[in-house]
Symmetry: C2
Subunit: 267 residues, 2 copies
Amino acid sequence: MSPEKITSLQNPRVKQLVKLRERRERDAAGLFLVEGYREIRRALEKGVRPQEFYFCPEWFLGENEPALIEQARQAGAQLFELSKDAFAKVAYRERPDGLLAVAPQWKRQLEDLVLKPAPFLLVVESIEKPGNLGTILRSADAAGCDAVIVCDPVTDLFNPNVVRASTGVLFSVPVYVADSVTVHAWLKAKGIRTAATTPHTDNIYTSTDLRGPLAIVMGSEQYGLSEFWMKGADVLVRIPMAGQADSLNVAMATIITLFEAVRQRNG
Amino acid sequence: MSPEKITSLQNPRVKQLVKLRERRERDAAGLFLVEGYREIRRALEKGVRPQEFYFCPEWFLGENEPALIEQARQAGAQLFELSKDAFAKVAYRERPDGLLAVAPQWKRQLEDLVLKPAPFLLVVESIEKPGNLGTILRSADAAGCDAVIVCDPVTDLFNPNVVRASTGVLFSVPVYVADSVTVHAWLKAKGIRTAATTPHTDNIYTSTDLRGPLAIVMGSEQYGLSEFWMKGADVLVRIPMAGQADSLNVAMATIITLFEAVRQRNG
């Protein structure tokens, strides 16, 4: 069966795709957008089953697109071929590559997280910018974190910029969303030590033991760590900075801390 | 003397500001754009003397703008007040804050770089994305690098996205631009060891001595380290990665390597 063709910018599906950029629409529909070859490939590899798949050969950048479309079809996606204009309208990226999937959101429960003997977790608090959250997921993947726990989120996990900045790592790193109080109690109950990063301590992160069951806790962009975690964390650590006070953003501080933990844990 | 007011989108100055987004225009004029309160403040603090300063109170976000404008005027800038529409046209950012300066470009010569006893340098090769170069400058500032040397640049230092992503660190970290062969010879002559980052080595970066006179060398986004540096570097180092092969981008790999060097050099 050949895919339905859409050329009108007024087509209801085209309009719906544009609406899915808004969180309210995403949450109401329980759906989100996955745009781009790499991200869609990773989603399919990790078992994400898109409901719909939109493509436009005039935007294709490579030669592997038909195989990806076929893979999406086999995963159950309904296919739609868009005109160049229509795809430009639904594309979120400045330079679209002619591939856009609509997939169902999911929700993981913290109680379902099966822990290894010495878990290595990342907890992030109230991250505001989707790009930062995506980059942080990517860092957690590279560092080999067992899971990322997003506390009191400001941006939602399924924001198109999270998907993009994570380069699809959103589909491979287990991410959990919960409130800080619940997460703190859960970590305590599991015997996982919390190391929270803040400029307001004398403990240098490289001189602090980051081995064993550990959750690194990062505060938000604008406000840093909340009072709750400042008081509730087992240890506070600081990254010494040579330059200007705000020269590290939260994504940079996260990757530095994660890889120091990796160094200690491997050594 | 009150500033000249510009309301027409066809005003030659408005058109010139838009043109300065293009490298050819920047290089021909020897000028570049500095947009935003933080970036302009840092530029002024570091002695940059803008020739022109454009502002629009309707876009202001805070209350410190008049003081900054006065500071720019005292530094020799000619002032222009723009209408809301005109400023929206010249603004490079999606959310402008009503402040835009035009400053002269500069060029530093490698032979003028005065070295400390154990210099700590960062060398980056052919970085393509302005955002990455800006983030890398910011990381070098945070890590306390004495200087950044940009080899065979693809993006120019004065791209508006470099200024933005560096959050104005471009004005504080000494940055030099030269070709790889010259830089390599200069480092050799100065007795500075080069440690180049690549996935194609067994040396783990945390097990490699990164103390003493050191230049960390990073390859480009797409091609990694060139053959020249692969062969010419004193030591190759690798960051072990748990996740997907491409889970670290060049800016992330740079900050991880820099802060490991800081750890070793401080310990």
